[in-house]
Symmetry: C2
Subunit: 143 residues, 2 copies
DNA sequence: TTCAAAAAAGATAAACCTATCCTTTTTTAA
DNA sequence: TTAAAAAAGGATAGGTTTATCTTTTTTGAA
């Protein structure tokens, strides 16, 4: 459902957001370490997050990645849309190209209820709120 | 979440089950057509379903695939376990290796609730029940 | 008993996703 | 002005999944 790249992206965004609230701009290397992801690949993922304006990047010495105030209020679904595309929460569990309430696959109704709930939670949860949960120390970005 | 192979497998199993109730044993070609999947790949998927005893195969003329009575009562989760493995409904939405109620990722609780509901529905829904729904004509295996 | 039909098995290819490396561009502080 | 730091971009490699093709085995019927 959610690609590995996208999982890295969510972890990275939440870490960057958690540091941004302390006015710190971590670089690729630090971010990769904190989320336990390969540095070079993390760089690519961060490039995308920056391209889609989910985080902001600053080049040069003392540069790095950070979140502006309004970016903290972006819902997590924005990350998924940017990295994996907008179809993720619309795909049929049995792979039909057109599966809907009107033309359902045999598992449509039981599946779509949960899928819609998931979509809703991705739409309602902001990057900033996850960052605050992380700062409080009750949740983790690595093992 | 669920691989393309596994989606083909579920569609194929439900079709075979729906024909088995009429004592018909379709072959690879017919099955591939009915579920709109590539024939050669469908053959591989069917091989696995047969290996894991989710459907039964018969070689030679008048051969094909069918479900025995007890196979109709297998829950759909058995197909997922056979094709994609048993970890599918346990994976962390943010990709942590060990994510649990005790060591949660920032999205753990909102995600795992829905994931557990999905697991339950895969455990409680049998291949035979989906086949009967299909036979009644209210749900579809292709577009 | 032979033959043809059908699945099983094995080998290979194509496509996609993940990952790495190297060069270029931009920015900053000294 | 310049050297260093950092992200951006391009090229390429590795791995996994998806897909195809060919050969082998099994089986029922003529």
């Amino acid at each position: 459902m959610i690609s590995k790249s996208c999982k890295y992206a969510i972890r990275a965004a939440v870490y960057i957001a958690s540091q941004a609230e302390k006015n710190i701009k971590p670089g690729v290397k630090e971010i990769a370490e904190e989320i336990e992801a390969p540095p070079a690949f993390t760089a690519k993922v961060l490039q995308n997050l920056s391209k889609y304006k989910i985080v902001t990047s600053l080049k040069g010495p003392y540069g790095g990645f950070y979140c502006e105030k309004h970016q903290l209020d972006l819902p997590v679904i924005e990350i998924v849309n940017a990295i994996d595309g907008v179809a993720v929460f619309k795909e049929c569990v049995m792979g039909l190209h057109s599966c809907s309430d009107e033309h359902p696959c045999p598992m449509h109704f039981q599946y779509s209820e949960n899928r819609n709930n998931l979509l809703l939670s991705f739409q309602q949860t902001t990057i900033g709120s996850l960052a605050r949960d992380l700062a409080e120390g009750n949740v983790y970005l690595k093992n």
